[in-house]
């Protein structure tokens, strides 16, 4: 029972991080119909920027904000310089482009910061909390992770549902031509979509790194698991992304705890295939229009 509880709590925290990542992918998909395979690498870069600041005694939360800002700028620059030329072209081009970006960011970070493991501090304790005499498998930092992801998700829902800016972003993604006619500056909206997504990714990077060791490869599993989480929920739905993330986090935690760590990617593959075969556009996608 104790183990089940601990594994579940661990899975929830893991799931929250996957959810944050899936949210970022979802934002980009909504704005430019591109899956950004460089997402994890971008978040890794911003996390290293934060670590460098922390190592020269900048307070943690200032570094946290700096990472978000760096993500925002990085996302905007990448969209403007690299992604803009392939928007609206063959899907394959964008996929290959972001994969290339992934390799470049990865290698450059390793060149600049080195490949060794480094400890990354956390703002609150990473020791298990205790209830009465028994300790339970969740740390204050884990709770912080869940709270931050919930706040980010709520913020995005508010942005898209209830603000003018969100409406314009949705319009640009939905139909660029018409939006342009209606006076929406579509290009700017797409850049904003990438920038927001990279900022969310940066938050996820900080949450993953806190109280753990980082090296340039530390985000690699998230290239895949973040993507699976996003697809589970349907790439279009922010809420779906969060739920997809939680499902994946819990499943992988149970598999690692009860069966064996090496089976985690296989189980993830199994879940992905099952969902895609039953609902090819994800669990929470609006009824997909059948293509002719």
């Amino acid at each position: 029972m104790q183990q089940f509880l601990d594994t579940t709590l661990g899975g929830l925290v893991l799931g929250a991080v996957y959810a944050a990542f899936a949210l970022a992918l979802c934002l980009i998909w909504r704005s430019t119909r591109i899956v950004n395979f460089a997402q994890a690498a971008m978040a890794m870069v911003t996390t290293y920027i934060a670590l460098s600041l922390i190592n020269v005694d900048v307070p943690y939360w200032v570094a946290f904000l700096a990472a978000i800002a760096a993500g925002f700028v990085l996302g905007a620059v990448i969209e403007r310089v690299i992604i803009r030329p392939v928007e609206g072209k063959a899907e394959l081009n964008a996929v290959i482009l972001t994969l290339g970006l992934f390799m470049v960011l990865h290698g450059l970070t390793a060149l600049v910061f080195g490949v060794q493991h480094r400890g990354f501090p956390a703002p609150v304790s990473t020791n298990a909390m205790t209830v009465g005499d028994t300790s339970i498998g969740i740390t204050p930092f884990g709770i912080l992770t869940i709270v931050v992801v919930a706040v980010v998700m709520a913020g995005l829902v508010v942005l898209f549902r209830f603000t003018d800016l969100g409406l314009r972003m949705r319009a640009s993604a939905f139909n660029g031509e018409v939006s342009r006619l209606l006076g929406v500056r579509v290009g700017r909206m797409l850049t904003l979509g990438w920038a927001l997504a990279a900022a969310v990714g940066a938050v996820a990077g900080m949450l993953i790194a806190g109280g753990d060791l980082v090296n340039p490869a530390f985000m690699d599993p998230f290239v895949i698991y973040g993507f699976i989480a996003a697809v589970l929920g349907g790439l279009d739905s922010p809420i779906g992304s969060v739920i997809g993330g939680l499902i994946l986090g819990l499943s992988l935690s149970y598999v690692t705890g009860y069966v064996g760590e090496h089976l985690a990617p296989l189980v993830a593959l199994g879940i992905l295939m099952l969902v895609l075969l039953v609902r090819p556009s994800g669990l929470f996608a609006a009824a997909a229009a059948r293509r002719v």
Partner: protein
């Protein structure tokens, strides 16, 4: 002038039948390659052998992605299947003779054909980012199976027995001696074998893409709706493409196992799948020549880039990171500046300049 006309008319039957033409080009290519391999150092022979198996895998991938328009980020996983299949066969047969080697490779191809169908059927229903993600997951998940089953050797992998040169049939030893004046050894054997199979595979692929099947693939790639209206079974065409491609990956995996002499999950990283894609995109999607050039880059660039990094004053640790940066930059630059790849761009350039010439003549 007259002589060349005569020659042309003589060779017309060969040139007009694609299979005959491909076989002839293949034969000449093999003789040229064999001469080069025979006169190279053992070190270069291992590089050539590496280039050969990369080229076979890239050839399969370029047919899949370039001709039938399906993306696969999971070809590393298919190579893993081929490598494990070949290794398990070699373990049982001892791998001493040429027959053992071919049996192992055939089994690798057959197993991959089956896996190709299994993966290809669901993959045919997916499109765009979904197939990218599914195949990427495949690339990560499949090698982990080795940790699940004892007989696959776990993280440490399986040793691969390779034929000793002395066990090879005498006629091969004589043939090699006759042409290159050098004894065949393990390294040159693997290089000859790799290039022989590479050329065979490319002749087969070139033929396939000129055939009705190839035309169907192109139709599906260019406009699936019209293709379906024209009576082409979309799913079937895609599954066939995936299976053909998987068979190439299986053959490449089997050869890789013999070259590396170890089959372990660590060999089949995401990076392997991505660099294969890089090779295909760099050479030019859909072009076999492009796949060959891309594979050459894969086999020679890492050493070159690492040396370059070291001579630029980077430590060995840092120099190891130069290669992926170069791969990534190449991928991005090709997509941004020359989406048709090296071969495609060259073709366009030549087509343009020959058009220019005709114009000049007419005016």
């Amino acid at each position: 002038m007259k002589l060349t006309e005569r020659l042309r008319s003589l060779t017309r039957p060969v040139r007009s039948v694609p299979l005959a033409r491909h076989l002839l080009v293949g034969l000449i290519a093999f003789l040229v390659v064999a001469a080069i391999i025979g006169s190279s150092s053992q070190y270069l022979q291992t590089r050539y052998a590496e280039m050969a198996f990369f080229a076979i895998a890239a050839g399969g991938l370029t047919v899949l992605t370039g001709l039938s328009g399906q993306l696969s980020l999971g070809h590393g996983a298919l190579m893993a299947v081929g490598a494990y299949a070949a290794t398990l066969v070699l373990e049982r047969t001892g791998g001493e003779t040429l027959a053992d080697v071919f049996v192992a490779l055939l089994v690798a191809i057959a197993v991959c054909a089956v896996v190709g169908v299994i993966v290809g059927v669901p993959a045919a229903r997916l499109h765009g980012p979904y197939i990218a993600g599914a195949t990427l997951t495949l690339a990560v998940a499949v090698p982990r199976l080795a940790n699940q089953w004892e007989f696959l050797g776990g993280e440490q992998g399986l040793q691969v027995p390779v034929p000793r040169a002395a066990e090879l049939p005498v006629w091969i030893q004589d043939l090699v001696w006759f042409f290159t004046a050098a004894e065949i050894d393990q390294y040159s054997f693997l290089a000859y074998l790799g290039w022989f199979l590479l050329i065979l595979a490319f002749v087969a692929l070139a033929n396939l893409s000129r055939s009705r099947i190839g035309r169907r693939w192109r139709a599906v790639r260019d406009d699936d709706v019209s293709a379906e209206l024209a009576g082409i079974h979309l799913g079937r065409a895609r599954v066939v493409a995936f299976t053909v491609s998987a068979m190439c990956a299986g053959l490449a995996g089997g050869l890789m196992a013999m070259n590396v002499r170890l089959t372990a999950p660590g060999a089949f990283t995401i990076t392997l799948s991505l660099t294969l894609l890089a090779a295909v995109v760099l050479g030019g999607l859909g072009s076999l020549t492009g796949a060959l050039i891309g594979a050459g880059v894969l086999a020679f660039l890492p050493h070159f880039a690492t040396d370059l990094g070291e001579s630029a004053g980077l430590s060995a640790t840092q120099a190891a990171e130069v290669t992926p940066v170069v791969y990534g930059l190449v991928l991005m630059l090709v997509i941004l500046l020359a989406p048709a790849g090296i071969v495609g761009s060259l073709r366009m350039f030549l087509a343009r300049s020959s058009l220019g010439q005709t114009k000049e003549k007419t005016t």
